[in-house]
Amino acid sequence: MTEKKRLSRRDFLKKAGIGAAAVTLAACAPQQTPTPQPTPQPEAKEKKLKAAFIYVGPIGDYGWTHAHEVARRYLEERYPWLETTYAESVPEGDAMRFIDRYIQEENADIVFTTSFGYMDDTIRAGEKYPDKIFFHCSGYKRRQNVGTYFAELYQLFYLNGLMAGALTQTNKVGYVAAHPIPEVVRHINAFALGVREVNPEATIDVRWLFSWFDPAKAREAAESLIATGVDALTFTEDSPTVIEVGQEYTEKGQPVYTFGHYSPMQQFGPDSVVSGRLVRWEVIYEDILAKVYAGVYTPENLADVDYWWMLKEKTVELGGEFGVPINPKFEDALKAKTVNDPLLGEISVYDLIFERLKAMSEPTVVFDPFTGPIKDQNGNVRIPEGRRATHDELWTIDWFVEGIVAEIPR
């Protein structure tokens, strides 16, 4: 489970920073009972950093904003010199007002804006407050005091695709998608590449919700896919609804394989969830904040700071729960199916998944799913043989790979 894993990590960190933590605790504790303390480390008290987080959604129990909030809480506990504040459900047109408040009234040193729609406001804020630091999540505009960061999931979508392709009995795989934007298109493509690698017969169908969070629509879309014969489903939507639908069908004797998204979701479908995608934003935030604190990042040198972190940096993790890359219930089925890989020879899908996971986690990233030749739906080669898609190509992708039978709404 999440907490267990986090605690062990936290314990380790506590040992490392126990002295500093004690100082802060003493500073925060009511003053009427002065207890003897070890000599405080002066620098821990002197320099403080205040970070503000602006969230687009409510925190809730799962999903995008929740994942950022988990990171914020973790870091506040981890660094005694760090003070944080946050605002949830900030409308995308309203970010400037909150940035003003945090900088003018609360003296924040650094502001994280965590939605694509905050991009222009963040840049404007960077111009207005040239001596402050800003980081914008998921955007592409930077300036000397505005950096960007993103935890990218496509490698995990590809790995989930391998599983879906191996497990499907009907050779029909489905994807319940939020909005037709490059990020989602890239994820559908990565998923489809995985499916087709182990099962060239399979097709991938897509339903568009036009919403990031709408459980009722997600249910209708998932059921409509199942009605066409789909038996493996993944999704981009901020609730575990698709998983619950999969679990319900599985319980009724019609197995539907599903994959969690963003948060640990295996608990919502113990018999249906094969694996999933998990994000650890704290890895990125930790790096940024430590570098700001150490003076590596200044309001003058961020124009080229763009975090695009994946498996290698341990920002994303495979699994429906932290520490469970594949639900043990499906291990045997994945081991039973074998494929012929040009490099690895005959190999079970189970082993293939871990080979790929290892290759993508290595410092040199020796494998990438978007390696040519990759054809689009019309059979045109979009990425030539032997070449990997570039960051920019992936960032702006607006075409579907072969095997996807849906269209991108224009």
Binding site: G57, P58, I59, G60, D61, Y62, G63, T65, H66, S89, D205, R207, W208, F210, F213, D214, P215, A216, K217, R219, E220, A221, E223, S224, L225, I226, A227, T228, G229, D238, S239, P240, T241, F268, V405, A406, E407, P409
Partner: protein, 308 residues
């Protein structure tokens, strides 16, 4: 579209249409007694948020439904007081109720967004009957709230058309002065019917948040209350016809995702329920004229004994 896709759409249309059905049945009773309540959307959304909140905190969905019914009833009581006792404009009072419900539910529901319910209301297949091919899945494999609506339709229809109470309700809606002279308590009947409408609207909203989604989303009724008002007219104020209309709209709702692969623009598909609303209203108006039946004659007109 093959048979499998079509048939599952038909099956899915019943739960999708159930909120429409409850809300429409309630509005039929209110309007039959002469009270036009345009606050259905507001009562539904309050039912949704209160039902969700109570289910979340008690872990009991039936308490959630009870609380939602109560919330709907309380809102309807405001409308009843304003339009029956104070004899104010019913259209304005109803619209105000809708705005009030949407606003208040957004405020109350903020902390519920993204929170999962600990319990689920599941289908309860009826033994033996649910094994009948096709019919079994269509009628006997649903959740208890759907079964209740199957029972409510004939009961409410019978009550309205074949009992003394039903005659009282209809006479109050057609000619309150005469009904009053006949010894019917116009105020009591109108209060009861309006509040009953609120009870059913509350349940309709709670069905969305407790069973159908199940989740709280701000503004999740998304116009269902307005569709219920249109369906009331389409149903020509008859509970039996309400059943047809509600499932028709439920069907259109679930068809949206089944039509997406045909290449129809998803944005266009999203407008389908509202296009259908217009069509249905056109049809109903034609029928009202042709058959000279329909709208209760005293609908929307406040009653005052002094003006008899």
């Amino acid at each position: 579209m093959d048979w499998q896709v079509f048939w599952t759409a038909v099956l899915a249309a019943i739960p999708a249409g159930t909120p429409y059905l409850y809300a429409t049945l309630g509005e039929i009773y209110a309007e039959r007694s002469g009270i036009l309540n345009l606050g259905v959307e507001g009562m539904m959304i309050m039912g949704a948020v209160v039902g969700f909140g109570v289910t979340l905190s008690t872990g009991n969905p039936w308490l959630g439904f009870a609380a939602a019914a109560l919330a709907g009833a309380l809102l309807a009581l405001i409308h009843a007081f304003v339009s029956i006792t104070l004899r104010a404009n019913q259209i304005i009072s109803g619209l105000a109720l809708t705005m009030f419900g949407l606003g208040l539910s957004g405020l109350l529901g903020r902390r519920y967004i993204g929170t999962p319910l600990p319990v689920r209301v599941r289908e309860v297949p009826i033994p033996i009957l649910s094994d009948i091919p096709l019919v079994g899945d269509l009628l006997f494999n649903h959740d208890p709230i759907v079964y209740l609506s199957f029972v409510l339709v004939p009961v409410l229809g019978f009550l309205l058309f074949h009992t003394r109470l039903g005659i009282s309700i209809r006479s109050v809606g057609e000619n309150p002065a005469t009904a009053d002279a006949m010894g019917v308590n116009v105020f009591r009947v109108r209060y009861l019917c309006t509040v009953w409408g609120g009870v059913l609207a509350g349940i309709a909203g709670a069905y969305l948040s407790i069973v159908y989604a199940p989740a709280w989303i701000e503004g999740m009724t998304a116009g269902a209350g307005w569709i219920a008002i249109a369906l009331t007219i389409f149903a020509l104020w008859s509970p039996y016809r309400a059943l047809v209309g509600a499932y028709l709209f439920g069907g259109v709702k679930v068809l949206q995702y089944r039509l997406q692969p045909l290449g129809v623009s998803p944005n266009l598909l999203n407008t389908l329920p509202f296009v259908l609303t217009i069509l249905v209203l056109l049809m109903a108006t034609g029928e009202v004229r042709r058959r000279r039946i329909g709208m209760p004659a005293a609908l929307g007109i406040p009653y005052s004994r002094e003006e008899r």
